[in-house]
């Protein structure tokens, strides 16, 4: 985990494209918020592996949003049920019910439906929020951050040694 965080910090501090990091956070949010063992997550995993996004950022985002998901599952359940019970959409759901692919995607599961819809709606805002946060971090926060006393302390810790090793291997620097 320490290595993973170190890699994330390296990515944040290095020349990795902010969009690559932002997309990683979006995909991680997607897989983290929705039920893990769902067919759509295979697609998310495929995207995370085959696109040049920051994989460490993806994993950290996945871990963070998995924790959040445990807290908001009842909200997703409520949202999913509202969508699935919406009169206007009944024709669509009834039609999909006969489709094996749709059934494998568990579209009629309340939490799955609620979390996927939320993740889709939240993806674009989260993409831009992530992008701006990364840019802001690199521009202002990093300098301020380095001046903090506890950061100075951290630089003398094992975590920092790991970070340096990772950076050294990849030829990066603070």
């Amino acid at each position: 985990m320490i290595t993973l965080l170190a890699k994330l910090l390296k990515a944040l501090n290095a020349e990795t494209s902010p969009w690559a990091l932002a997309w990683a956070f979006v995909l991680g949010m997607f897989i983290g918020l929705t039920p893990l063992f769902s067919l759509h997550n295979l697609l998310i995993l495929f995207l995370a592996l085959s696109l040049r996004i920051n994989f460490a950022g993806f994993l950290v985002s996945f871990a963070v949003f998995s924790g959040i998901a445990y807290l908001v599952d009842p909200v997703f359940d409520y949202l999913g049920e509202a969508i699935l019970q919406a009169d206007a959409l009944q024709g669509l759901w009834v039609g999909l019910y006969e489709s094996p692919l749709a059934r494998l995607l568990q579209y009629n599961h309340t939490i799955t439906m609620g979390s996927v819809v939320f993740a889709i709606l939240f993806a674009v805002p989260w993409l831009f929020i992530s992008y701006h946060l990364i840019v802001a971090y690199r521009g202002r926060v990093k300098a301020w951050f380095d001046r903090l006393r506890f950061v100075q302390v951290i630089k003398g810790t094992k975590f920092f040694m790991v970070y340096q090793r990772v950076s050294g291997l990849r030829g990066g620097s603070l």
């Binding site: 040049r52 759901w93 094996p100």
Partner: protein
């Protein structure tokens, strides 16, 4: 594009997913086998084993070999087992959890077969029914077949007591007669009374003074006779009573031995209530075993029904699946199934149609099953038909009827305890009946008619020996089996004319055993009665003689008393003389 795609990652993903798919396809059989064993074990409550599962992908079919469902109540046996099961089904329907089997074939189905090793029972298994412990019932029945000596002890033989009572009566009567006899007048006294009366009646009064004197003499004589007359009357009364009492007693005494024997014989019969359950005890376990075949269809249907009764408990943390099935296709449907059941050493085919628990979704068409077997060395004919429907409105409803002719029952144990063992050596069974199911509750029953029955019961107890002899003599009887209770846990009740036959047979056996002892008893009682009557008959005759004498004496005294003083009159000549004398005295012509 080159900058966007991370080829190593893409290749890794494809390789991993491809390998995963390959593994699933290659090991689909073992994976399905493990999944089925786990799920079926949970449903069955005890270990379920499947020797192997083969998946055929085109067309999609599943074939299972060596299926064994452990009986959770008898883990050393299988509740049901099958040599093989092969089903063709729609793959994509199966993927989304809709089981639509077009053709199912099961072979080598058997029930109650001993396992190689006892199966494991799940800790959370709860018995669906309390098994009836027929052996315990036998112990509770506590059959008491009394010995002849016990019967004699409690039969209150009345003859000896009657002899004592009659002796006492005789003594009392004799005392009364003797007392009365002491007061009887002597014969000379009676003769004297006769002489005095004769003297009075023979005397011709000459005048009124003579007449008055005679009348006075007669009054004096009557006074003298009055006490004696009363004494004779008392003696006659006492004697008459004594003769009556003793005669009645002797008649009663002569009848007493016969009555005693009849009473003892009447006691040599068993309490009707004590044998009402023997047929249940003897044939209960085996009927229960036979009934497993009758309920065979329900064993197949049970899991289906429990599946239909499952309730989904929604949870905000787990979510729920919403049903959008508007095409009303059943979730589970077997269009046709052919099951081969091993029964009594042979094979019987059962055909099933439209097996589902959602009959509303197939237009209300009932599920049906039919068993028809032609004559074989084991039976003349076997027929079993059943149909059922399950709907949201009416619940579970169905019926099953059977007709069995000429089933040759081979040697089989009925029950065995440490001291008693019963065995059915052979019989011919005919049976017919019908069971109905309404809202999951069974009702109905059938008749099992057993002929050419040979039952052997052996034991060290005396009652077991007698019961064994009686059973050996019974060749035919009916068992009326009633079925009730929940479908998954049917309860049986057995009524039979075997109980009545057993009671009759046991009574006869006891009476036969008692006959020699009763003969001795009869001789003994007759001997005592003869001794008593030989002693008292002469005394009775003597009393009768004395009574006759007393009656004669009484008649004599009554005769003497019949002459009243007013009967004494002046004679006609004397009366004329007195009239003339009076006329002269008055100065007449």
């Amino acid at each position: 594009m080159k900058n966007i795609i991370r080829w190593p990652g893409l290749i890794t993903f494809v390789v991993v997913v491809g390998l995963l798919a390959l593994i699933i396809r290659t090991f689909a059989g073992p994976i399905v086998k493990s999944g089925l064993e786990f799920g079926l074990t949970r449903a069955n409550g005890a270990e379920v084993n499947i020797a192997s599962v083969d998946i055929n992908w085109q067309p999609f079919a599943v074939r299972m070999e060596g299926i064994q469902f452990t009986n959770p109540e008898q883990p050393e046996q299988n509740r049901v087992q099958a040599e093989s099961a092969a089903a063709e089904l729609y793959f994509w329907d199966a993927v989304i959890g809709r089981i639509h089997i077009t053709d199912l074939r099961m072979t080598g189905i058997a029930m109650g077969v001993t396992r190689d090793r006892p199966g494991k029972v799940r800790a959370d298994y709860k018995a669906e029914r309390e098994p009836r412990d027929w052996r315990q019932t036998l112990a509770d029945l506590n059959i008491d077949i009394p010995s002849v000596d016990q019967i004699l002890e409690r039969s209150e033989i009345r003859t000896p007591i009657l002899i004592e009572q009659i002796e006492e009566n005789f003594r009392r009567q004799r005392s009364a007669v003797e007392t009365a006899k002491e007061n009887l007048p002597e014969r000379e006294t009676i003769d004297e009374y006769k002489a005095r009366l004769e003297a009075i009646t023979e005397t011709r009064p000459r005048n009124l003074e003579d007449l008055a004197r005679l009348r006075q003499d007669l009054e004096s004589l009557r006074d003298d006779m009055r006490a004696d007359r009363d004494a004779v009357r008392a003696f006659v009364d006492a004697s008459e009573q004594a003769v009556e009492v003793i005669r009645t007693d002797l008649d009663e005494l002569r009848a007493a031995p016969g009555q005693d024997i009849a009473r003892v014989r009447s006691l040599i019969s068993l309490e009707p209530d004590s044998l009402t359950e023997v047929s249940g005890i003897l044939f209960g376990p085996v009927v229960e075993q036979w009934s497993n075949y009758a309920f065979m269809a329900f064993d197949f249907l049970g899991p289906m029904l429990s599946r239909s009764e499952e309730e989904v408990r929604p949870s905000r943390w787990e979510g729920r699946y919403i049903d959008f099935d508007r095409q009303q296709r059943p979730v589970f449907l077997i269009e046709q199934a052919l099951t081969d059941i091993q029964f009594a050493g042979t094979h019987v085919g059962v055909e099933w149609q439209n097996l589902t628990w959602q009959h509303d979704r197939i237009g209300g068409v009932p599920s049906t099953y039919n068993l028809a077997a032609s004559a074989s060395e084991y039976w003349q004919s076997l027929n079993l038909d059943g149909r059922f429907t399950l709907s949201d409105l009416a619940g579970f409803a169905g019926s099953q009827s059977w007709q069995v002719r000429g089933v040759n029952l081979t040697e089989q144990p009925l029950f065995s305890q440490s001291e008693v063992a019963a065995e059915l050596l052979g019989a011919v069974l005919n049976s017919q009946g019908e069971i109905g199911v309404e809202a999951g509750q069974l009702s109905g029953g059938g008749v099992l008619n057993l002929q050419e029955v040979a039952v052997q019961l052996q034991g060290e107890n005396r009652w077991a020996e007698i019961l064994g002899d009686v059973l050996a003599g019974i060749t035919a009887f009916d068992l009326n089996v009633g079925v009730s209770g929940a479908m998954q846990a049917p309860s049986l009740s057995i009524r039979s004319d075997l109980d009545r036959q057993l009671q009759q047979g046991l009574t006869n056996a006891l009476r036969a055993e008692a006959d020699s002892k009763l003969g001795t008893l009869r001789e003994d009682l007759n001997q005592r009665v003869q001794e008593a009557t030989a002693q008292w008959d002469p005394r009775l005759q003597e009393l009768v003689g004395e009574l006759a004498g007393a009656r004669e004496q009484n008649a004599t005294i009554e005769d003497l008393f019949s002459v009243e003083p007013d009967d004494l009159q002046l004679g006609d000549i004397l009366r004329d003389r007195l009239r003339e004398s009076l006329f002269d005295r008055l100065g007449g012509n």
